[in-house]
Chain length 297, copies 2
């Protein structure tokens, strides 16, 4: 019941305007008023580990936004899409934890500790993660200490970059004629990839998705070719996936160096490797539609 | 601009109540009035291929709901969560395309053709898919004919079952100390799995996620053990993931038959295999929280 009441207030009233960039200030003020008089809101601390999706705020879930609106403190990093932090309560404290050159960056253990300290102090904390918190998000690590301390937390899944970029680029990750499985890896620095079992990745009818891999894409491609993947295997490199500035470069595995060099490597950044990439010729739609409702730029 | 106007009307007005189960009829009526006077809505046909997430309507994205509210026709199957179809416009035509014993089921080519026919006839069609349309959703197949026919379409990613179930079960799919990659497979009938490269799946520090695999879980587990995965590898079987009725059974790979037998195999159903499953001991939260705001049952 309290939950339904919250929905009613948050979406039935002027606070709904929180979602319109142009009227954001008014909207947040209205929501603050709602929250100020909200007796259902607990005062005990909690951390909401929230996947905010690949970038487009339109891909936030209702659950994500609701919890963002309840947080006293918002903790975010550079992988959280522009405009998403602004959807939190205006009076929420904002803590940027990195990682950008020149900024003070928190290291992982500092972030973990920060969450514990804030929750123990009675704060409701929205820890925003780009994509999904449990796919290369280190979300598990961030809440382990919280959990050990017996503090309250919730985990909100998000559209991980693989799903968002695939949909907006028109590349199905699985397809009966092309791929019966899909594997997600990261493009770590080569020295960290020494132990990777490249042979195992190179399975027929498997799509390989590489997160954060522009800098090492050439290395990754070379290892995959050595392990037996055809140099002519299609490869798509997607930058700023799901956003208006989305760029999709398509080539083959042996052109990886070229593709990566031409990329600005702006997140969300993702490489998709496999014959499914060819389907984009038919299925690309984003940035092309003009008359479909709801998609005007 | 038309997009912002739509948001304003849809979320600023009484139609926002579409989201509250208890006041659904009023809400849909209000939205219909908005749409009736909406001059920005196109009259040309289009198909919106929409991932509706693992089940909890709270995990719909804003984009998904907006397009659902614009559709004249809604096409759905049994993998779409209860209550989600009801969030479409009340006057939208609803077409159930299967697949349940006793019902007339459409086969895949009939569904593909239906989408083409409706869009060509000027209808805006919401094709709802459980989870994400490009992860084992056959979404690619469904829009290939549309695309070939030059018809308008959009693809909306959704929270795939792996992400939803993992978050709500407290099992990170990747984790620095446990898994550096994650692979998604389906639990097909054994005769369809003959070609599967089991050796390649059994990589150290890789989480294996099996979709729709209760019936074949024992078979899958036996093949993985034969291929070298330790019989003591942790296994979680998640039924009705993200829903209030969520059940998580945890055991080891060699107990797969037992776990599957005790399951009612109700979707979303997912098996997670790998040492990350152990983290659930610490990180389970759903169904336990009581005082955190926004999570009251």
């Amino acid at each position: 019941l309290p939950r339904r009441r919250f929905w009613e207030r948050a979406l039935d009233g002027p606070a709904a305007e929180l979602l319109f960039a142009g009227r954001r200030a008014d909207a947040v003020r209205a929501l603050e008023q709602e929250l100020a008089t909200d007796t259902t809101v607990t005062t005990s601390g909690a951390v909401y580990l929230i996947g905010t999706g690949p970038g487009d705020p339109d891909l936030l879930t209702f659950r994500a936004l609701r919890l963002m609106q309840q947080a006293d403190v918002v903790i975010f990093d550079r992988l959280v899409g522009d405009g998403i932090v602004d959807l939190c309560r205006r009076d929420a404290e904002r803590i940027f934890v990195g990682k950008q050159a020149g900024d003070h960056s928190y290291d992982q253990s500092e972030i973990n500790q920060l969450l514990v300290t804030l929750a123990r102090g009675g704060k409701r904390v929205a820890r925003l993660k780009g994509g999904d918190p449990f796919i290369f998000g280190r979300g598990g690590e961030e809440i382990e200490e919280l959990a050990a301390a017996g503090l309250e937390f919730q985990i909100v899944p998000g559209i991980t970059a693989a799903l968002g970029c695939a949909a907006y680029a028109g590349i199905p990750l699985t397809h009966r004629e092309h791929a019966h499985s899909c594997v997600f890896i990261t493009g770590h620095a080569p020295e960290q990839q020494a132990a990777r079992d490249w042979q195992a990745l190179v399975r027929s009818q498997q799509t390989i998705v590489v997160y954060m891999g522009a800098a090492t894409l050439d290395y990754t491609a070379k290892r995959l070719i050595e392990a037996g993947l055809a140099p002519s295997t299609p490869l798509a490199l997607i930058e700023r996936g799901t956003l208006a500035e989305q760029r999709v470069a398509v080539g083959t595995l042996d052109q990886a160096a070229d593709l990566a060099q031409r990329s600005a490597a702006r997140p969300p950044l993702l490489a998709i490797i496999g014959s499914v990439v060819r389907l984009r010729d038919k299925l690309a739609w984003f940035g092309r539609e003009r008359c479909a409702a709801g998609s005007e730029p």
